[in-house]
């Protein structure tokens, strides 16, 4: 057991801290896209290797060797300082790695640099109303007509569709093939005629997501990533990456500390909520679970670093992490009593209403990105080696 990162890394941590101390004033606040301060900051971070760190210079990245610990240190230090560590979004997190792996040289040159620099914003077109857990049954079609794909169908759960310049999209190009083998991965501009974006309001009241409708959208033939019919395999390796990010124990840890503070501040019947032993015990239960998940996270990091197997430890993060977070937010609501019901712009609102909105949002995350039911299938089959469910008889 050695929890130190070692001298080289502590030196690196020092560099990062110094950089932040010197430059934090230039960092943009909030999540704006495309503003000059945002783009300038992004350019500076790429130059210093604090974002796009391992992406080759020829494609617009910093070109450093992969180093999990350095990446973690950068993430930790920017998070601790509450300074933006650069642009995120599905283009940078999901499309860029895909293109690096299987894009053509031309695609890499054309898309990676502008995406990293924040010049092209992407959205993702995977889920459909009738293809959620069973994503491979998607029906949005793309038919080759001369040198163009003609896309028709509908996507759902598309975040940033309103802001995006381009979309990476799964479409069915081989209707005769088995369902996993008939899908292709297309890129196209959101300005293409025939695209309609409708905001999708959720239970939280926000419209973080959209529905996107395609009617005879014409896409140049070469804007396919990988070969025809390979789209499922292209998309799936990255999806797994996305799932690992849901339920992050470090974010939950911050929320836990906010909850402890809340319970020390609020009073009911002249007693601080924290002095109610029943709520306090629930708080302590959650604290113990958060602790376990944080140590589990350290174990996963260390396993990656040392090429050890901790695949089961990783597989459970989404299931446990989202449920835990949902319960944590729910405790805050209960502890607040009637105050916990207030929402939106209500007078007396606590924490800007985040306890309620996060409670609901995390219920959404329990469902999204692979429902808890699908997660349990994965854990039992891939983690524990239990058999898949037998296929049903055709009736």
């Amino acid at each position: 057991m050695d929890l130190s990162y070692g001298g080289e890394y502590e030196a690196f941590r020092g560099e990062v801290r110094d950089f932040i101390a010197d430059h934090a004033s230039q960092a943009p606040k909030g999540n704006g896209m495309r503003s000059k301060p945002v783009l300038d900051w992004q350019a500076l971070l790429i130059e210093k290797g604090y974002t796009a760190r391992t992406i080759p210079r020829e494609y617009g990245g910093h070109g450093a060797e992969p180093d999990i610990l350095k990446s973690r240190i950068i993430a930790e230090e920017f998070a601790n300082a509450q300074v933006s560590n650069g642009l995120g979004g599905q283009g940078i997190q999901m499309l860029v790695p895909t293109l690096l792996e299987i894009g053509t040289e031309e695609q890499k040159k054309r898309f990676i640099g502008p995406t990293l620099r924040g010049e092209i914003v992407w959205c993702q077109g995977y889920s459909e109303p009738n293809a959620g857990s069973d994503l491979a049954s998607l029906t949005t079609s793309a038919v080759l007509d001369g040198d163009e794909w003609v896309v028709n169908g509908q996507k759902i759960w598309t975040s940033t569709a309103k802001q995006a310049d381009w979309i990476f999209c799964l479409v069915r190009t081989e209707p005769e093939a088995p369902k996993h083998k008939g899908i292709s991965f297309l890129l196209f501009s959101m300005d293409t005629p025939g695209i309609e974006v409708r905001p999708l309001k959720t239970m939280t009241g926000d419209s973080t997501f959209n529905e996107v409708f395609f009617t005879d959208v014409r896409v140049p033939k070469q804007q396919i990533v990988g070969s025809r019919g390979e789209g499922w395999f292209v998309a799936n390796s990255i999806l797994r990456h996305e799932r690992g990010m849901l339920g992050d124990p470090n974010a939950t840890f911050s929320r836990l500390n906010a909850l402890i503070e809340l319970m020390q501040q609020e009073t009911v019947d002249s007693r601080r909520v924290i002095d109610n032993p029943v709520f306090r015990d629930r708080l302590m239960q959650i604290q113990g679970e958060v602790m376990a998940m944080r140590f589990n996270d350290m174990r996963i990091l260390s396993a990656k670093l040392n090429n050890k197997d901790a695949s089961l430890a990783g597989m459970i993060v989404k299931l446990q992490g989202t449920e835990l977070r949902h319960r944590l937010e729910g405790l805050a609501i209960d502890a607040l009593g009637e105050l916990g019901l207030l929402y939106e712009d209500s007078p007396l609102l606590r924490g800007q209403g985040a306890w309620q909105s996060q409670y609901m949002f995390y219920l959404g995350l329990i469902i999204g990105g692979g429902t808890s039911q699908i997660q349990k299938n994965i854990i039992s089959e891939r983690g524990l080696g239990m058999p898949r469910e037998p296929k049903p008889q055709q009736v």
Binding site: D134, T267, D269, L339, S346
Partner: protein, 360 residues
């Protein structure tokens, strides 16, 4: 022996249920919520005609003269249809307080108006449930001063206000010195709010010197909120079963997956006994005084817990669709959340249950 509803009660249930299904479905609730309407006048009028607003008001005052079980039956329908109407305070708690502790003049003035749906009433009793340090009402020389939070059925014409000695008063919304503020909650189908009193003239309920009357009024509200949850949770379960029977994934309806079936079975298993519990609690309120208070506490707490479980699980069965606004499932989710916290969350009410048995 008949543990269940009478024919008349089934009729009441059906007539209210039919009206709501036909004329006050989700679309109406949505419209009310989106428009932040003060009052769904059409629904109020129709329900008043069906006797809902005068349900427990004596016939002598223009009401139907029914009891708590009837109120619970109606509340279940209202919860099941997320009906945007003032009921718990306006049709149950305040009429009850008036009938048990009001003067003849108070009764003669307010009860007929409430029964006819021509006035609505709110209840400002949260201080008696759990006091907040900055919310306290003191009475002196016929006036009230202070602040009441979480007023149920806010935006009413008249408020029942409990002071810090658990005595109750009537205050008209238009009284001088009264400031009223809406508190937006997750549940947009019912209003809560805050009242500030600066020496507001109040009309005390003479019979409320006995603090048991206020306790009864709170019990009644708790039973009605619990019944509302029963209806809302039953509806969510029904929607989940129906949705699972239609939604296809992996080439079959999801209702045929054991995981989905078991989620629904667990909801049913926890919810079904709640029906008998609501019936008994409401019946005991009128007929079995020695069990009434404890049963009301446990019913409120238990429905709060079961409701929370069903709300989450039924949403999960719906998958992403449950999380959207499209189906509107969240109206039921939030209604259940509201019922859980108002008039005391489960932990608080269970503490009361223990105290009633002298276990504290």
């Amino acid at each position: 022996m008949e543990f269940g509803l009478t024919e008349e009660q089934v009729l009441l249930q059906d007539s209210v249920g039919r009206y709501l299904a036909d004329h006050a479905s989700l679309d109406r609730a949505r419209q009310f919520a989106d428009g932040a309407e003060e009052r769904a006048a059409d629904v109020c009028t129709a329900l008043a005609e069906l006797g809902v607003s005068g349900l427990i008001i004596d016939e002598a005052y223009g009401g139907v003269g029914l009891k708590m079980l009837d109120a619970a039956i109606v509340a279940e329908q209202l919860g099941g249809n997320v009906t945007p109407i003032a009921f718990a305070a306006s049709a149950v708690m305040v009429p009850l307080a008036l009938q048990r502790a009001g003067s003849e003049a108070q009764k003669a003035h307010w009860l007929p108006l409430l029964a006819a749906g021509e006035a609505s009433a709110g209840a400002a009793v949260s201080e008696a449930v759990a006091a907040r340090e900055d919310a306290r009402i003191s009475a002196s020389g016929g006036t009230l001063t202070g602040r009441a939070l979480f007023v149920l059925d806010h935006a009413a014409d008249v408020y029942l206000v409990a002071d810090d000695r658990r005595k109750m008063h009537l205050v008209e919304a238009k009284a001088r010195g009264l400031t009223s503020t809406r508190l937006t909650s997750i549940d947009k189908t019912r209003h809560i709010g805050e009242l500030r009193f600066e020496g507001v003239a109040a009309d005390p309920l003479p019979g409320s010197d006995d603090p048991a009357v206020l306790a009864d009024v709170i019990d009644a509200g708790r039973i009605v909120l619990a019944a509302d949850t029963l209806g809302a949770a039953q509806n969510m379960l029904d929607q989940a079963v129906a949705y699972a029977g239609e939604r296809q994934q992996f080439g079959r309806v999801i209702a045929s997956f054991q995981a989905v079936k078991h989620m629904c079975a667990e909801m049913a298993a926890r919810l079904e006994p709640c029906r008998a519990m609501i019936w008994y609690a409401a019946h005991a309120f009128d007929e079995v005084p020695e069990e009434s208070r404890l049963t009301a506490c446990h019913t409120k707490a238990h429905l709060g817990e079961v409701g929370k479980f069903v709300a989450k699980t039924a949403t999960e069965v719906h998958g992403g669709m449950g999380f959207t606004d499209l189906l509107g499932l969240h109206y039921w989710f939030k209604r259940i959340g509201f019922n859980r916290q108002m008039l005391g969350g489960p932990e608080l009410v269970r503490e009361e249950a223990a105290r009633l048995q002298e276990l504290i």
